[in-house]
Subunit: 268 residues, 2 copies
């Protein structure tokens, strides 16, 4: 099973920690540090691959990240590198598709983009709006509230409401969880949707708390637990991304975003 995930957001939002936590791998490590430690003069998309084995299933995961995104004094057009990357992958696929012998098409198209929103408590930044307006018709965007342990539950709820209000005002189209025939699944999906944008916490450390091993962040005033649903939406994101919606993310990429690209390309 193949999947390509893009990770976008300014430095220091916990992106590499979250990716490591999501896939229980040290994809980001001293050998291949997080994007914030690979910043160049201009924003460029970089790719790394990792093999993940989970429940007997092998996942060939490709992670595209964006060192330098949003980190300069002037961030005008810093999303252009992301647009170019996504369209290049569509172009590669289109070329491969139009070959006579097209067995085993490698699919490196970006199936999902996790966009990290800084936990300011106020609302979206102009850069967040620009990015999502420019990319929502090219890739499945799943917005995340980064470092959610920065916010109290009340602040988080208010912040989520404000973000969704602004997303609707700017007519930004996020990835939509599909309706299912199964009523039980639909009920679960609705609970999922009500938590968007997912407020995530990640951690590279496993702590020992009262006999249990817990992935979390140890503060003098307590432990923020990554996998505790009362502390953050990490498990919600992980379930939908890795377990329930991975195939749908690929389908929407192929049937909607790629088709959009293809029809524009072939008609121009």
């Amino acid at each position: 099973f193949e999947f390509t995930l893009m990770v976008v957001g300014e430095s220091g939002l916990g992106k590499s920690t979250l990716i490591n936590s999501l896939f229980l791998s040290d994809l980001y490590s001293n050998e291949y540090p997080g994007p914030s430690l690979r910043i160049k003069k201009t924003v460029k998309v970089e790719t790394t691959k990792v093999l993940i084995k989970e429940n007997g299933v092998t996942l060939r995961l490709t992670i595209d990240d964006t060192p330098g995104f949003g980190d300069a004094v002037d961030n005008s057009n810093c999303w252009q590198a992301v647009i170019n990357h996504i369209e290049k992958k569509f172009e590669d696929y289109l070329n491969a598709e139009s070959m006579v012998t097209r067995s085993k098409l490698a699919d490196n198209r970006v199936h999902c983009c996790l966009y990290f929103i800084a936990p300011t408590g106020h609302g979206l930044k102009p850069l967040d709006v620009e990015f999502m307006k420019n990319l929502h018709d090219k890739v499945n965007i799943i917005p995340l509230i980064a470092k959610a342990d920065t916010m109290t539950p009340e602040e988080c709820l208010r912040f989520k409401k404000q973000i969704m209000k602004e997303i609707h005002e700017h007519k930004i189209q996020l990835y939509e969880f599909p309706e299912c025939e199964d009523e039980e699944e639909n009920r679960l999906n609705r609970k999922l949707k009500s938590r968007v944008p997912f407020a995530v916490v990640g951690s590279n450390t496993v702590l020992e708390i009262g006999g249990r091993r817990v992935r979390g962040r140890q503060y003098p005033w307590g432990v923020a637990e990554v996998e505790n649903i009362d502390h953050c939406d990490f498990t919600v994101l992980r379930n939908m991304l890795v377990r329930t919606h991975m195939q749908d993310l690929k389908d929407v990429t192929n049937n909607v975003h790629y088709e959009n690209y293809r029809s524009k390309k072939l008609s121009s």
Copy 2:
């Protein structure tokens, strides 16, 4: 007693909450919201005044804040408004000083600038460096790590080290705590200096914890206490700013920053 404090940093770093906490006032409220809720098309410095009574002393506090600083997609030169404001205050003072009758000179010069650094965990952002390099020779800069409850004690220590390393590399001059004749005071000052940049937490809510009334932030995993020295450096900042170093901040402004401005102005 008069004092002018400038507050600079991007939106959502807890600046208004911190100012309210420092002076136990709702300087920022629904009537006069924090700078992040007053953002205009361009960065402009705005001023508000409040009368603070503490220990029988009346403090006429002026707060200059900077709505829009660092919040746009392109933040080139967003520090220019701050430079203009500080120099305008120097100019006003110079003009008043040069009058024949100069009784009771109003002193609206900026005595201290609290610069809020985002708790990314990595280091200074390019904007932080630009701001401090442009302003360190014009005003007393005290850098703060904002929302320090975002970081574990180990992360905070590492972050402080990294920030100070970068500040030295960029030859940025921060406000320096003076040497005293009193050996005990010197010992205390050295402890203060070792905590720079101060990692602060602020809160507008007072909670009831085990019978005590505590200013803090209530998370599901515990309470981050603003006035607990093991949780953050808030009390350290408050003591030095409001109790021990307020006069020295005014003296350095007058004897160093203003004199710099004056000699440049009179020689040009």
